[in-house]
Symmetry: C2
């Protein structure tokens, strides 16, 4: 993410903290900054590593707690994916994902037609929908290659 968007996002987070009466600590800011720089859906451990290089005193439980906090206040989002480790998404805007069902990797996918999708009525489910994502499920390039290798053996 470029520097000016990053500054914007951090600024907006400070604002949200003020509104909600949440504390804006040095740890929280460093962790948010790290997520914004780690583009591809980092795990808590990825974030911990990145944070350790710039503020080595930050503890792992703080990273876990802070990531949940940041997601709760909307500064980042939780990623939905087929793996079994929590992953976070620095993006909060509308976008979509290509999901590999072989290796569980997933990458961002931009598409205006998908963005234009009308959100259906979900009131009878008691659900208040604010947003959506389309997951395109299939097989990534490297898993296709691996499958071809397997065939030829």
């Amino acid at each position: 993410m470029d520097d000016s968007s990053k500054r914007d996002r951090i600024q907006r987070y400070r604002q949200v903290c003020r509104e909600l009466g949440e504390r804006c600590t040095a740890q929280r800011l460093v962790i948010l900054e790290a997520v914004l720089e780690l583009d591809n859906h980092p795990t808590a451990d990825d974030v911990f590593s990145a944070v350790s290089t710039r503020l080595p005193t930050v503890a792992k439980p703080t990273v876990y707690r802070t990531l949940e906090h940041l997601a709760r206040v909307g500064a980042i989002t939780k990623a939905c994916h087929p793996g079994n480790v929590a992953r976070y998404d620095s993006r909060v805007d509308l976008h979509h994902h290509l999901v590999c069902l072989h290796c569980n990797q997933f990458v961002d996918f931009e598409n205006e037609t998908l963005d234009g999708l009308a959100i259906p009525d979900t009131s009878d489910m008691g659900f208040e929908v604010t947003d959506f994502r389309v997951q395109l499920r299939g097989i990534c390039r490297s898993c296709q290659a691996r499958a071809r290798e397997g065939d030829s053996k």
Copy 2:
């Protein structure tokens, strides 16, 4: 899931095993049957509990290995969700999910308009897409209620 669909699915699984040269063991059949009966995206542990009542000798690692196996051969699917435990989906057909970003719960959502969505071209990403899901993200009924309670305090 009703009995006749269940029988169909098990039958189809036997067929796939024959084609792929995979072994069709008693454990695999019991585990598949359990997933088909557990409608709401069970975890490995949910499946283990269900299986234990009917074939108590099945070990937990077998459940883990078998669920991966069943997903690999397409008898079930992995669910994509914001939590950090692997969850499986007995459904392999086109459907969608309502995802609660507060409590990580998610439920099935049927909608023909969403089903009709054209899959965009992803060849430039090297991705072979076979399927898709739309995640409608928001807040579920009980989390809304909890939020209202919180407000009034």
